[in-house]
């Protein structure tokens, strides 16, 4: 085989104590469209940033055309033949497109030529970037990258927000690049695209490359999913089976009912219900509307249409306060958004409590202390850093965000990826807590980016794709089934 255009050897990167990449070997041959795959947090984005000069690797080497290179910055990477199109277009909103191009030293006429080749020459380059829709900005970013005539074009989830006809134009360019014996590194969550357009794929898991093969081959999809997940734990499945059996026998009443809720105007609408005493797991790839769905449910954002019923009565929240009064409370993924980082544990737990305690006049501190202490004990929060919530570890902060609602009282709990970035021990404490709350009669909606958790804590799973629930699965569903459904594909056997 000829010399690879790009070769990384044992590339590693850590951010403080968090290791993003352990050792990644990646080899892209000339004339190859190479897919880079991996679950959320596997290290894809970090690798792309290293390859395009945004970050420096701590260890390992990157070689272009056989020569080891040190990429000093985005400009340097482009000069060495690596041109990226990032997930978020690197265009400055307050400038016109032409000004943006001049900034990178790109000739607008050349970009216009590339756009014409994509049949997009109607785009007005004197428009300010902020006035253009995102799909066209991606295409512009792509056209700009093409002008550098890179040896390796790096496309980071470019098709994620593109309508099909624009995606097809991207694939046409990938084909053109291949025909010129140049290469493309293609990142996408859409396995169908990967199978159809890529010659090779490399799967990352936990910061390592775990497999490289031809994705289009027979059973390629199953192989990709297996490589992304690693070995699934069998014990989880057994627990889930017991729970599935138990859940079907006792049907709680519907606590939270969502009907045709429009997350975005063009979506089909989300419908599901959560019953008292159950944990409904929600699985989705990044960017399927889950963030906004939770914001809508918690009263932070208005839905574009549809209906939310809480205990049978419609909830039209104008403010989170309205939702909280109806017992619907949110634990967001960004803990510091929910907490008062510079205030002590006690005040953090008591803050939502003040809604109920008294409106005017002094607060009954004795009662407050009692309720707070109960919550702290129940959650076994480590109170050594009691003076400032921001000094707590991530796990303890997360317990605190749940604990706030324990003291204040709630009936429906919305958990958005509550275990992100938390150590395994605390994760299990949180799982136990969630189960305990549900068994105590609460309705819990749990979005998780870790599919394992569906089996570990949930009674049912709903899969969100493109702003709609595409599948409802039992907790015993395998992770590969969940992942398949999350990609918007049909799950064959359950």
């Amino acid at each position: 085989m000829s010399q690879p255009i790009l070769q990384t050897t044992a590339v590693a990167k850590a951010f403080g104590p968090v290791v993003a990449l352990r050792a990644v070997d990646l080899s892209v041959a000339p004339g190859e469209v190479h897919a880079l795959l991996g679950a959320n947090g596997a290290g894809k984005s970090t690798l792309v940033k290293i390859l395009t000069g945004v970050l420096r690797n701590d260890g390992g080497t990157v070689a272009v055309n056989g020569e080891p290179v040190a990429l000093r910055g985005p400009t340097d990477a482009r000069a060495k033949g690596l041109a990226p199109v990032y997930q978020d277009p690197a265009l400055i909103r307050d400038l016109t497109v032409t000004q943006n191009l001049r900034l990178t030293g790109v000739d607008p006429a050349a970009v216009r030529k590339e756009l014409a080749a994509m049949d997009l020459d109607g785009l007005d380059l004197d428009e300010q970037v902020r006035d253009l829709p995102l799909p066209f900005l991606r295409m512009l970013d792509l056209a700009r990258a093409l002008v550098f005539d890179p040896q390796l074009l790096v496309l980071d989830e470019i098709t994620a927000a593109l309508p099909p006809d624009l995606s097809d134009r991207v694939f046409a360019i990938m084909g053109r690049w291949k025909a010129r014996n140049r290469s493309v590194l293609f990142i996408s969550h859409r396995l169908a695209e990967v199978r159809e357009h890529c010659d090779m794929c490399t799967v990352l898991r936990d910061g390592r490359d775990v497999a490289s093969f031809h994705p289009g081959q027979e059973g390629g999809e199953a192989q990709i999913v297996a490589a992304m997940l690693g070995e699934a734990s069998a014990g989880v499945r057994d627990q889930a089976r017991e729970r599935a059996a138990a859940a079907s026998s006792e049907d709680g009443q519907a606590r939270l009912v969502v009907r045709d809720l429009l997350i975005d105007r063009q979506d089909a609408g989300v419908s599901f219900e959560v019953r008292a005493g159950e944990v409904l797991g929600m699985a989705a790839l990044e960017g399927q509307g889950q963030d906004r769905l939770f914001e809508i449910l918690s009263g932070n954002v208005h839905a574009a249409g549809g209906e939310i019923l809480v205990d049978g009565r419609p909830l039209r929240a104008r403010h989170p306060y309205d939702a909280i009064r109806r017992g619907v409370v949110l634990v967001p993924s960004n803990r510091l958004m929910a907490l008062l980082p510079q205030r002590p544990i006690r005040e953090n737990i008591a803050a939502p409590l003040f809604n109920r305690v008294r409106r005017w006049g002094p607060i009954n501190t004795g009662r407050e202390r009692r309720q707070v202490n109960e919550a702290v004990e129940r959650l076994s929060i480590d109170t050594r850093a009691a003076a400032q919530a921001r000094r707590l570890s991530g796990g303890n902060q997360q317990k605190l965000t749940i604990g706030r609602w324990l003291a204040a009282g709630f009936r429906t709990l919305l958990l958005f990826d509550p275990t992100r970035g938390i150590d395994v021990g605390t994760k299990h404490q949180i799982y136990d807590l969630v189960r305990e709350l549900a068994d105590g009669g609460a309705a819990v909606l749990l979005f998780t980016s870790e599919l394992r958790e569906i089996g570990l804590v949930c009674d049912r799973a709903a899969v969100l794709h493109n702003g709609a629930i595409v599948a409802e699965l039992p907790p015993t569903a395998s992770e590969s089934d969940l992942l398949t459904a999350a990609h918007g594909l049909e799950v064959t056997a359950v």
Partner: protein
């Protein structure tokens, strides 16, 4: 999947906007401020029976300092910073100039003027460098710098004093009924310094780092250098403001409160002129026009026979109302 033809799906290109729409969108605020200024000038003219060159010179030369400080503040705010030391910089350059220009010929005075502006650019560049290197927020560093500069001004000149050349005064701010020199200097600085800067790669970079530092970095810009350059250019305008003060008053005045008030008024002009305090957007013309609007309020109140103390109250109310109405007018755009 491959079999389904996707020819039916066709994403339409965004509708191109007309020149007029684009002008309204980008320059609408400046036009609005210009209309406000024209109305205020007309009002002022109607108050005085013989409104002529003398009054015009008074308004233009008297507001030139503030207009230049508004320019200094605008450049820095556009780059994503804020400079609370522009007023102190003006006071310091005023004191240096007044001390060195006392009883000198025009040649020496011109040389001093150039040197003083260079000193302001160097000092301001130094402040910018400290901000970029230390990572301490702009507001903290420039506030601290304003104390240092105000102290230096008192060392240069321990009380009101100094002087300058009469010919220099006339050349910069005009004789009593000569509004043209002041106007020419303002227009000259604008056309000879700002317009070429804004069109250059450096100028675009200033807007870029103010708008989105991460995207600017990804575009291959030297973010730190662009930010320091904005401070250097700001120093140029502040230094010019110091020179104009020297020419207008004919002396040096080291009182720190002058600088503090001037700084805050420059921020007000920037806001009223339609420059986003978040950086990345706005023009230089808006704040200059806004500076004149702000300066006209006190004489207008006086003309109405009101207590001039109400002028300050009116100034605050006008800023809030104008910015609020402007914000309401821009809501449809944000919702798109």
């Amino acid at each position: 999947m491959t079999a389904t033809p996707q020819a039916e799906v066709h994403t339409p290109l965004p509708r191109p906007s007309s020149r007029l729409e684009r002008f309204a969108r980008r320059q609408g605020w400046v036009v609005g401020v210009a209309v406000l200024l024209a109305a205020l000038v007309g009002w002022r003219a109607s108050q005085i029976p013989a409104f002529g060159a003398f009054e015009l010179r008074g308004i233009i030369a008297g507001t030139m300092t503030l207009a230049l400080l508004a320019m200094a503040q605008t450049v820095i705010v556009v780059s994503g910073g804020i400079d609370l030391s522009v007023g102190a910089m003006m006071v310091l350059t005023n004191c240096i100039a007044a001390r060195l220009m006392l009883d000198r010929g025009l040649g020496t005075v011109a040389l001093v003027a150039v040197a003083v502006v260079v000193v302001a650019m160097v000092l301001s560049g130094l402040i910018g460098t400290v901000i970029v290197v230390s990572g301490v927020p702009d507001i903290v560093v420039t506030l601290a710098a304003s104390f240092t500069l105000a102290g230096l001004a008192l060392i240069v000149l321990d009380g009101p004093g100094g002087g300058t050349n009469l010919r220099f005064q006339e050349l910069l701010v005009g004789d009593f009924d000569q509004p043209l020199p002041a106007l020419a200097w303002l227009a000259g600085v604008f056309l000879a310094v700002w317009v070429p800067f804004k069109r250059s790669r450096l100028g675009i970079a200033t807007y870029a780092v103010g708008s989105d530092r991460a995207a600017a970095f990804l575009s291959g810009l030297n973010v730190a250098r662009s930010r320091v350059i904005a401070y250097v250019l700001g120093g140029f305008f502040s230094g010019m403001a110091g020179l104009v003060t020297t020419a207008f008053t004919g002396s040096g005045e080291p009182r720190a409160s002058i600088g503090a008030t001037a700084t805050l008024t420059s921020v007000a002009a920037v806001v009223l002129g339609g420059v986003s305090l978040l950086g990345g957007s706005g023009t230089l013309l808006g704040p200059v026009l806004a500076a004149f609007c702000l300066a006209l309020i006190a004489p207008l109140m006086l003309g109405l026979g009101w207590d001039p103390n109400y002028a300050e109250v009116a100034r605050g109310v006008i800023i809030i109302v104008v910015v609020m109405v402007g914000g309401l007018l821009q809501i449809p755009r944000r919702l798109r």
